[in-house]
Symmetry: C2
Subunit: 218 residues, 2 copies
């Protein structure tokens, strides 16, 4: 059975998964790196940016799951780019191909949800980006077919995770709550009253100060 | 030094300290008892309702602090009564004297914040209720003077805790985050962007599923 899994999705105490004022210079808006500092101390992160070292404690155990036995990712367009509306740079020298350089950290097919489909492209390391105009169930069906029998990661941002939760298609939701009050941005929990009824919830706080929560579908 | 302390203040994952639709029959609105079930398993709670038993684990260690070395409480009017506006039942047989019967669980002076002051009254067990029209700093000054050198508990609800946090007068904030999504009600964190900068924050999750967080003023 292939699961739909969310991993390492960081939110503030007041439930914001990203800040306000997203731009090329500030992918998380006024939140800056504050939602992800806990992750930057892990071996997982160090390895991703080509460095030695990093902690292998509880935070790392959780974040290592991000890649393990994942065969495809679905992400919202907002994770791929801060641009909205029709693509204006296709085929130009400035064509946007994501934040992650020539060898993004996915190493699987990636399906970007957008109302403006565009041609697929391939980067190094097995990263193939597709662009599809589909709802949660259909997108998941497409991604599962491309995942080689492995699971599908639901990559965020907050709006698409919320949409997939509302559609009832997420099997594992791993939230990392960071003890900061962001005050503004995009909230994860809006419109999800009572969502916990469909899940077994476990929580564990770690010395870095964050609290990991797993929502496992019943 | 007398501290201003908040204890056992329960919020949902989406930050609501109380639900929607507060009434005499539903003091926490549609939240019902869901924000406080963790507490009902403790020895503290059992003792409060006159029963034997209850757990003496980590949840109980936190909730026992609610009373320890507290000499006065300040509460918002919304904690005292769901009624708003001028008091209409004073001196009648139906005069409202709180939810807690003849021997409320405070056993100290209690200062109720209201724009409609009314005469003080005394119940059993050292419970004396006063009604004052004052902002956070002034209310705290009054309560400290009545606390016999002990600390002052800031009793809630969410609007008054938020107001006292914004005023910068809270020394210890103990939050209990319950893994439910309430969806509606009164939020604790609104308008408190960046509040963590003034506090050292520690978190610990317990087997009951809640996460205790202490905010200790720097």
């Amino acid at each position: 059975m292939q699961l739909a899994r969310v991993h390492g999705f960081a939110i503030s105490l007041d439930g914001f998964g990203t800040g306000e004022g997203l731009s090329l210079a500030a992918p998380f808006g006024h939140a800056g790196q504050r939602l992800h500092e806990w992750m930057m101390h892990t071996r997982y992160w160090h390895r991703m940016i080509g460095e030695e070292g990093g902690g292998v404690g509880v935070d790392n155990a959780f974040v290592d799951q991000h890649d393990y036995r994942i065969g495809a990712e679905i992400m919202g367009r907002g994770k791929f780019t801060p641009q909205t509306g029709p693509w204006t740079d296709l085929g130009t020298a400035e064509e946007w191909r994501g934040w992650w350089g020539q060898n993004p950290p996915f190493h699987t097919p990636v399906f970007v949800l957008t109302h403006h489909p565009r041609p697929s492209f391939e980067l190094e390391g097995g990263n193939v980006f597709h662009f599809i105009d589909a709802g949660p169930a259909e997108a998941l069906e497409i991604a599962k077919a491309a995942a080689g029998g492995l699971d599908v990661r639901i990559g965020g941002g907050p709006s698409m995770v919320r949409e997939f939760l509302a559609a009832g298609v997420i099997d594992l939701l791993h939230i990392v709550q960071v003890p900061i009050v962001l005050g503004r941005g995009v909230r994860l929990w809006d419109g999800l009253e009572g969502i916990e009824a469909g899940y077994d919830v476990e929580s564990v706080s770690t010395p870095s100060g964050v609290t990991h929560m797993t929502f496992t579908r019943r």
